[in-house]
């Protein structure tokens, strides 16, 4: 804090805290999306800081597809109980009972049912007027133009052409009945910022981020870990490779990367040398040119 100056991480932190407090002040039923990943972990810590020494003034919402990794469920429940936070889990039970899966439906439709539809239903069921998400502008092209407070119509849809201008740190929180706002307190964080902050703050993350030997199927440039839901394509065989996850999604659709990074510092070291955009290990983004933007318009986070 020399020369009355704070570091970029402290500035990002201060900005995120300001945003979280603004949501809690201006909305009646805010909710924080909790996806169990590293960004969620950082967001959770920021929320703790924003309302310290009070408990979180909003519940956590996990939209569960049923396809998440076991480690993720364990970690999720542990975090919620450690923080004493209210955890709401929402699943599209109808689709899950009907056996929705990415193998038969394709990732687009499967995601549409188990994530987008489930999310919209969950927001409606909870009567939530503001949903806080961990998306970052750096992650993907269509996110670069996303607002911090992003308006959604009564159908949860996003119109990239009519976004509210956002100036200074003055966020327009006015909405009509049935409309909602998605709030992105991590908008200005990069993947490197996230890991640096996890390191600095010693924030717990799901162990899947760290490399270990495991059985995988090599599919193109993706390493797909083998578990109960995995379906092998003709000619594929299992291999044992030291790898880790850069992002955490559903088990059939999230690829691992070859890595020896066994600690946060290792991961940061790896990032300095390996330059691959993190979402590229998510199969869904590559289905279609501009697929993320399409999904976002429909209501995806």
């Amino acid at each position: 804090m020399s020369n009355y100056s704070i570091s970029h991480l402290q500035q990002l932190e201060a900005e995120s805290i300001h945003i979280l407090r603004e949501v809690a002040s201006e909305f009646e039923h805010p909710v924080m999306m909790y996806s169990v990943g590293k960004d969620s972990s950082v967001m959770l810590r920021l929320a703790q800081k924003a309302f310290f020494p009070q408990k979180l003034p909003f519940p956590l919402l996990h939209v569960d597809t049923g396809f998440k990794f076991k480690d993720m469920y364990t970690f999720r429940d542990r975090m919620a109980s450690e923080l004493g936070a209210e955890l709401v889990v929402h699943r599209n039970e109808t689709a899950i009972t009907d056996g929705a899966n990415p193998f038969d439906l394709g990732t687009q439709r499967c995601c549409g049912l188990l994530k987008t539809q489930a999310l919209l239903d969950a927001l409606k069921a909870g009567d939530y007027d503001a949903a806080i998400g961990g998306a970052r502008r750096e992650e993907e092209k269509s996110r670069a133009k996303e607002r911090v407070f992003s308006f959604r119509d009564q159908f949860g849809q996003w119109d990239p052409k009519s976004q509210r201008p956002e100036l200074w740190n003055l966020y327009n929180c006015q909405i009509a009945q049935g409309e909602s706002i998605r709030v992105f307190p991590l908008s200005n964080w990069t993947e490197l910022d996230i890991w640096m902050y996890i390191d600095k703050e010693d924030i717990p993350v799901v162990p899947m981020y760290f490399a270990r030997e495991q059985d995988v199927v090599v599919r193109g440039e993706q390493l797909i870990p083998i578990d109960a839901t995995t379906r092998m394509l003709p000619g594929e065989k299992s291999e044992r490779i030291c790898c880790r996850f850069r992002t955490l999604g559903c088990s059939p659709c999230t690829g691992a990367i070859r890595s020896d990074a066994k600690s946060v510092a290792d991961i940061i070291a790896e990032m300095m040398t390996v330059r691959i955009s993190e979402r590229s290990t998510r199969i869904i983004d590559h289905d279609q040119e501009g697929s993320m933007e399409l999904k976002k318009r429909e209501g995806y986070f």
Partner: protein, 648 residues
């Protein structure tokens, strides 16, 4: 491993610099950003590889394509909104707000510039300084950016000629002399070839200045913050249990330490900072832009929208102010209309009083205009329903800015930079228009009608408005009249300056606009009391016909009974007990009606009381007679009769 720890240490203590870029469609702005990102090794490999699918293999990747996020824009071939880009060097982390140059998008430029410390303005070396570059510089200056880099791009297409650069540089500096920008650097570059973007170019040995990235890494911007005037807008009250309360918010400006004496606005409550509480432990000091919470020594009532300041350094606390407003909505500004204003942590109703002028952003010429349309900028006078705690934007970016939103569509329609409060002689003296804003939709209504109340009290509620000079004895008559009505069992209330100013209007002074607001409150109060069946005796100087008419309109013309208490100034001076005339004589009081401020006698009062020649008792009797004659008082009810025996 040690390398990594070193890297981490170095990278957690970086500074964050926010940049806005602006450039015309063909200036090569996107190419320049692409170059900065690529050359600082921050374009991830797969972004590059997905890009290759879009361009022919034999061409170099089009750096500009990389930046066009949205599909619709890719189809149009232009960037149409604000996009945020991130890159870092070992010295700093940079956030670029990339805003389009097309003339439709003043809105986006202002948006990008609002948070920026520095702005990069693009000029095409072949074309020289066009209106668009001038517009960008003007908006950057309007939004308070004090550092500008002018990138004279495409130097490769003019043979890297020094003369071309010099002539453009001179043009730009001539124009910028009219703006308020302290630090301007003009750099010859070729974004396509990377000349003077990251490293110095060998093509232009005549240029001895720094490259763009060198400036971005070196520019001193921390001193742009206001570290003098403590402004802490309370954002959220933390109250985990009965024994703990702290006020959370972001320090807008100034420095705060435990032990500091503070004042909370608008309540004017004094206390001291007990501690600055954070998750990471208590702090010894806090400054912008830190998000903290503070405990105070005393149990005081503080809520969101309040502002904590040092008692000897106050912001403006005003309802009337002027601002430069950028209009951002397709629907033009409604002059005389109402909007929601968000300023610091307050949201209030605001009225557009009038437009001073609009500014042609290309020529900087002022022109008369009745309103603002999309992408227009103008000087506007506004009035809020309650005071805002602000500073001029030029002194304090955080407490000088606001946004306007529309009540119907909820769109963010405007962004404003406060110039200052309105000088007293130019504030609106209009009671009525402000009152309009209070005419909000009513919810649940009382089931007791005005007619029921009339039967109960035996009176037709009205407001007897006594106007006259200070010292004319309005209050004596008011209280004598109150006693007479009370003795006859009528239900009556007296409102006078002393009573109302000590409570309801204690936040108001004696300036013309404050007087207007004071009387508006009195009129509102009278109306409410009348609605509830009570007779009101209001004793207020109310010096102008205009103000009295507005009061009458608020109360209702048929309920308003105007009584002019007439007396000469000499008589009033001799009989004054308030000491106002003495204060005026000593020069300690201004705007005293009858002295240096006009008192307009009512044109057609319901009653005129010649104060100098008439006894109090006679005056009261005349007023009572007037009320009975006009049917306001039921004679069967009065004269000490019991309510219960009125059945016969």
């Amino acid at each position: 491993m040690n390398d990594v720890r070193t890297f981490i240490e170095e990278n957690t203590s970086k500074q964050l610099l926010r940049i806005s870029t602006a450039g015309s469609v063909d200036d090569g702005k996107s190419t320049l950003i692409g170059r900065l990102l690529a050359d600082s090794k921050n374009i991830y490999e797969d972004h590059l590889s997905s890009l290759k699918k879009l361009v022919r293999d034999d061409e170099a990747p089009d750096l500009a394509l990389l930046l066009d996020g949205l599909k619709a824009e890719r189809e149009q071939g232009i960037t149409i909104d604000v996009a945020y880009r991130y890159f870092s060097t070992p010295k700093r982390k940079f956030i670029i707000a990339d805003t389009p140059g097309h003339e439709q998008y003043t809105r986006n430029m202002a948006t990008g510039a609002s948070t920026a410390n520095l702005s990069i303005v693009l000029v095409d070396a072949r074309n020289g300084v066009l209106t668009q570059s001038r517009r960008h510089a003007f908006i950057a200056s309007l939004l308070g950016i004090s550092h500008i880099i002018v990138a004279v791009n495409k130097m490769d297409l003019v043979g890297y000629e020094e003369a071309t650069y010099e002539s453009i540089k001179q043009d730009f500096l001539d124009y910028a002399a009219k703006l308020n920008i302290t630090d301007i650097r003009v750099i010859p570059v070729s974004a396509l070839n990377g000349d003077n973007v990251v490293s110095k170019s060998s093509h232009m040995p005549w240029y001895t200045g720094q490259s763009i990235l060198e400036i971005l890494e070196d520019v001193q911007f921390l001193s742009d913050r206001n570290m003098i005037d403590l402004r802490f807008p309370v954002q959220y009250v933390l109250r985990p249990n009965q024994d703990f309360r702290s006020y959370a918010g972001t320090v807008a400006s100034g420095v705060i330490r435990p032990g500091d004496e503070i004042l909370v606005l608008p309540g004017q409550i004094r206390s001291r900072v007990k501690s600055i509480v954070t998750y990471d432990g208590d702090l010894e000091l806090a400054f912008p832009p830190m998000s903290i919470s503070m405990q105070l020594e005393d149990e005081v009532d503080v809520s969101r929208g309040d502002m904590i300041v040092h008692p000897n350094n106050l912001p403006r606390s005003e309802r009337h102010f002027e601002a430069m407003v950028v209009w951002m909505d397709e629907t033009p500004m409604n002059p005389g209309g109402h909007y929601a204003i968000k300023h610091a942590t307050q949201t209030a109703r605001v009225h557009i009083d009038h437009m001073e002028y609009s500014i042609d952003v290309d020529t900087l010429h002022k022109k008369q205009a009745g309103h603002l349309a999309l992408n227009e900028i103008g000087r506007v006078a506004l009035t809020t329903v309650r005071p805002l705690f602000f500073d001029p934007y030029s002194k304090n970016r955080q407490t000088g800015c606001f946004i306007l939103s529309d009540y119907l569509t909820n769109h963010t329609v405007g962004a404003g930079m406060i110039i200052d409060r309105l000088p007293g002689d130019r504030t609106p003296r209009d009671v009525d228009r402000i009152a309009e804003s209070a005419a909000v939709m009513s919810g649940v209504k009382s089931s007791v009608s005005t007619k029921d109340r009339r039967l109960q009290y035996g009176q037709d509620p009205c407001t007897i408005w006594l106007t006259g000079l200070v010292g004319s004895g309005k209050s004596e008559i008011a209280f004598a009249l109150e006693k007479a009505l009370q003795e006859q069992s009528f239900a009556v209330v007296v409102l006078d300056g002393a009573t109302v100013r000590s409570g309801l209007s204690r936040d108001l002074g004696f300036s013309a606009p404050d007087q207007a607001e004071h009387l508006r409150r009195v009129a509102e109060m009278s109306r409410i009391l009348n609605d509830n069946g009570l007779i009101v005796i209001a004793s207020f100087l109310s010096p102008s016909e205009e103000i009295r008419q507005q009061v009458a309109a608020l109360i209702g013309k048929d309920r308003y009974v105007e009584v002019f208490v007439e007396a000469s100034v000499a008589w009033c001076k001799a009989h004054d007990t308030s000491g106002c005339y003495d204060l005026f004589q000593r020069g300690e009081l201004k705007n005293l009606a009858g002295m240096d401020y006009p008192y307009e006698a009512p044109e057609s009062p319901d009653l005129k009381i010649a104060r100098e020649y008439e006894q109090d008792g006679a005056s009261v009797r005349r007023i009572l007679e007037h009320l009975e004659e006009s049917g306001k008082l039921d004679p069967r009810h009065g004269k000490g009769q019991q309510k219960s025996s009125s059945s016969s």
